[in-house]
């Protein structure tokens, strides 16, 4: 990426990575099920909790590659 001269606040194509989390958590048919359970927790619950962590990692990544 030719990001050497960009300033924070300008558009970056890396921002499209945020799209992943929108698709992953806003489409309930993906995760509205009980199996597979994890330590007794239904998939519905641990999947969405896992995405909290994944989305934070995505945001941290985007921050690091787009910072000044």
């Amino acid at each position: 990426m030719n990001d050497a001269h960009r300033r924070p606040g300008e558009w970056s194509w890396w921002y499209l990575l945020f799209g992943i989390e929108f698709v992953a958590v806003l489409w309930p048919p993906f995760y509205n099920r009980v199996e597979p359970t994890w330590i007794g927790i239904p998939f519905f619950y641990w999947y969405q909790m896992l995405w909290v962590v994944i989305s934070a990692v995505i945001t941290a990544f985007v921050y690091l590659v787009t910072r000044e």
Partner: protein, 515 residues
Amino acid sequence: MQDVNWIALSIFVLLFGFISWLGFAAARWRRGDLDQLHEWGLGGRRFGTLITWFLLGGDLYTAYTFIAVPALAFGAGAVAFFAVPYTIVVYPFLFLFFSRLWYVCHKRGYITAGDFVRGRFGNRWLALAISITGIVATMPYIALQLVGIQVVIGALGISGTGVAADLPLIVAFVILAAFTYSSGLRAPASIAIVKDVLIYLTAFVAIIVIPIELGGFGKIFSAVPAQKLLLAVPGAHTTGAYSAYATLALGSALALLLYPHSMTAILSASSGRAIRRNAAILPGYSLMLGLLALFGFFALAAGVDKLPEYAAGFKEFHNNFAVPALFLHSFPSWFVGIAFAAIGIGALVPAAIMSIAAANLYTRNIHREFINQNPTDKEEAQMAKWVSLIVKVGALVFILFVPTQYAIQLQLLGGIWIIQTLPAVMLGVYTRWFNSWALLVGWAAGTFAGTAMAVAAHLTPAYPLSLGGYTFPGYSAFYTVILNLLLAIVLTPVFNAMRAERAPLDETLAADYLA
């Protein structure tokens, strides 16, 4: 109601006393001239990444959330978990839109969304609409924070009749009002640190101890009735619970950061970089909110609503009593004191920030714009301090004399109203393309249609939208902000052609939005 729990009460009072002292002492923290509005109302824009994390965390994840989300899980089941996708998708918006907003507000000295819209679009009436929406949406939100305090005070076993029953709440509020008046935003910022340490401690102890007591997660979830465990699969010709769940999450995320108290905490950061970093670390609170939602199921599995000692609490506070009852049932008294103090103090932080935010809006965008255009710095700060007091007294009176249900319903409407400021505020940080009068028409139409939808849906969030034989149940705020946006897009070229607006009046420069 059960007997007074003296050990828990003592610890609660001790911690409450400590944060009261802290709230007053905060006036001297990172000292600034509190006779200037940006010092009193934004803490001098001096908070770095870590303090901003505590402040925004304490501000966005309110005490009421911590009571109401598990209560919804307890009563309605899986749908309560919308709070998790909601607090996932909110952070890309924080990262992309609000860090830019921080830069322009910092460069131009704006302290409210109204200031920004006034500067960007040069239309005082649009700025007035944005500001009034902010104040009106905030008021019931403050009142709801008091419900959080009420529930824990009740759960500590304090009850009475008449004035005596309300006395602890009044005392808590007088303290809150006094330290907000004297210390401004520095008070909730310092208290947020204590509150968040307590709340994380409570959540992590509870997530480990209670499942062990109840025999593991497998046992807990098998106690949850099947229809509460998952979202109902939609029938024919409807998107059912799926679209309701997704639009509730997305719409709430779009609305959250537009609230004045969010804006105040965002603008008090010391840099746009601190905002971006927070978009990556604030999900720590989302994780905790997810755990707290599970506490609703713990309460179901423990069967606290069937235990005679909590019957009175459930009768008075309904499902909002689920988590306090669970804590009383599972923890020794001293830890109950800590957990309840976390919730009680957790109510003070957002309540303080909300009252400051409403005061900033009134002072800057109503009083200064329409009543006294040339106040001195000192007059302006003094006005804001008084308004913050009036706002809090209003919320207290509301909660003491009006049924709680009304506050909840008004807060629902508040979400529908505040989202209508999205085109002007959030899209405004990227584009000046919109005609300001088109934005105003869009705002009015969205507000009206949203209110009508909410009333038609009997003041529940999901409205069953019918199109071509299909039904799409969804969050009214989400549907109406689309209507708002479409109107603004269609009317912009029309109004431009009618020359409703002479030259584009924009005092901000493209470079203002960058670091």
